[in-house]
């Protein structure tokens, strides 16, 4: 009787799966909370390492991390790229979003006035090997360099005719569009507050920034 009831009920069938899922979930949460600090530290170290490539003239040693209030009402963490003599040369914005396979995390370098993209770097991606993972290549990242930020980037499949057009990777349209969308979202979110900060900082003052370093 007991046996028959169990055979018919979903819980009787699946209790082990449910229990294991809960158990594994707790275990993964534990691993994530233990290691996330270290992983973030690794990413930060890499960010400082690639900073001179993304914002020309930036000196990682002089640059600082700060947070601004984004348009979406959430604090955004980013970097003020400072060059020789303490002069600000641009900003470096970490941004992320869904790609084709998994979350893509990128770094966007922009000039101080947030008018032009000066560089792009892919910090983390799990796109399809041999297709989507070409977003990490120099050839693709160069397509973003010198793009204007006053209008959203548009991904095209032919040679770009406008400055804000980015040529997609063959066979990886979704990955290309994901990267462009992440850039558009990050710039729409942080562009205005950063321009404001740059304007305040110009007379030589530090500006109203909440420095975390």
């Amino acid at each position: 009787m007991q046996e028959d009831r169990n055979r018919g009920s979903y819980i009787g069938q699946a209790w082990l799966v449910i229990l294991l899922a809960a158990l594994y979930g707790v275990a993964l949460a534990g691993v994530q909370s233990t290691l996330s600090g270290k992983i973030e530290q690794n990413k930060k170290a890499e960010t400082y390492e690639v900073m001179p490539d993304l914002v020309p003239g930036a000196q990682p040693g002089l640059s600082e991390e700060l947070t601004v209030m984004g348009k979406d009402g959430q604090e955004a963490r980013l970097y003020r790229a400072v060059g020789a003599g303490g002069r600000q040369v641009g900003w470096l914005l970490p941004a992320g979003g869904q790609g084709f396979g998994d979350r893509i995390e990128i770094l966007i370098g922009v000039d101080t006035q947030v008018s032009t993209i000066t560089g792009l770097y892919v910090l983390e991606q799990k796109e399809t090997p041999g297709l989507g993972d070409y977003i990490t290549t120099d050839a693709f990242r160069q397509r973003f360099r010198n793009a204007p930020t006053d209008r959203p980037l548009v991904v095209v499949k032919t040679d770009p005719s406008q400055e804000n057009e980015i040529r997609a990777l063959s066979g990886a349209t979704i990955s290309s569009e994901s990267v462009a969308a992440i850039v558009n979202r990050a710039l729409a979110n942080c562009g205005a507050p950063l321009r404001e900060l740059a304007a305040q900082a110009r007379p030589g003052r530090q500006g109203r920034v909440e420095s975390t370093q």
């Binding site: 069938q13 699946a14 082990l16 799966v17 294991l20 899922a21 594994y24 275990a27 993964l28 691993v31 994530q32 290691l35 270290k38 992983i39 690794n42 890499e46 396979g101 998994d102 983390e124 991606q125 799990k126 796109e127 399809t128 090997p129 993972d133």
Partner: protein, 226 residues
């Protein structure tokens, strides 16, 4: 792979020692079973990524073998694949996070291949063939043997490819600077060429002397135990 899938009751299977030995060569996942070909071809252009991949796979394989073996009495036959996949996915995620925390550059280089360990047939086949039917002790020996066999497979291919393609081994220059690096060896065609040639050599070798030598050893150990 001849065992039939039945219920998860313990029954006499190969012993721990046999499982271990089988994994290393007689049932080598790469050279004898031809399983896990994706990482075999994709991450063997140099020793460092190959060894990292082998270590990550070993971690997942041994942990999932232990876990599946511990719960083997509770498995429902028609839900077992779901449980295997859930278990493997959990350990792969842990391995992925560990790599990102402690070997960050390798984690970046391997990228999507680490999550792809989830679908590595070597692991799920061991859960099905060994861990879901035998005790944790045997499952651990099986996991270690298979991991070792997988590692040897990856390392042998990576050694050939890195030596011929870059003149280095683990990044250290081994061949003289005059060696003209065979670029094709580090590219995808090099993976297929190397795998094919090494497979042929292993096949040729095991059919001849090596095979009889190994089987003699196994038989000797078998008779010594019984």
């Amino acid at each position: 792979m001849s065992e039939k899938t039945t219920s998860s009751v313990d029954r006499a299977g190969p012993t721990a020692l046999e499982r271990f030995i089988n994994g290393v060569l007689p049932e080598n996942p790469i050279y004898r079973q031809l399983l896990g070909m994706c990482p075999t071809l994709a991450v063997t252009n140099a020793m460092k990524p190959a060894v990292t991949m082998a270590a990550a796979t070993a971690f997942v394989l041994i942990c999932s073998n232990i876990m599946v073996s511990l719960i083997r009495g509770l498995l429902k036959p028609h839900l077992r694949i779901l449980v295997f996949t859930l278990t493997i996915a959990t350990f792969v995620t842990i391995a992925d996070r560990l790599l990102a925390a402690y070997v960050y550059d390798m984690s970046k280089q391997l990228g999507p291949y680490v999550p792809l360990i989830i679908v590595n047939c070597v692991i799920i086949s061991r859960a099905e063939i060994c861990a879901s039917k035998q005790t944790p002790g045997v499952a651990i020996a099986d996991g270690i043997g298979m991991s070792l066999g997988f590692g040897i497979g990856l390392a042998s291919i990576a050694t050939v490819r890195e030596l011929l393609g870059s003149g280095t081994w683990f990044g250290l220059h081994v061949l003289p600077a005059t060696w003209p690096n065979w670029g094709i060896m580090v590219l995808p065609p090099g993976a297929f060429l190397t795998l094919g040639l090494l497979l042929a050599i292993v096949e040729w070798g095991t059919r001849r002397r090596a095979a009889s030598a190994i089987w003699r050893t196994v038989r000797m150990l078998w008779s010594w135990r019984h």
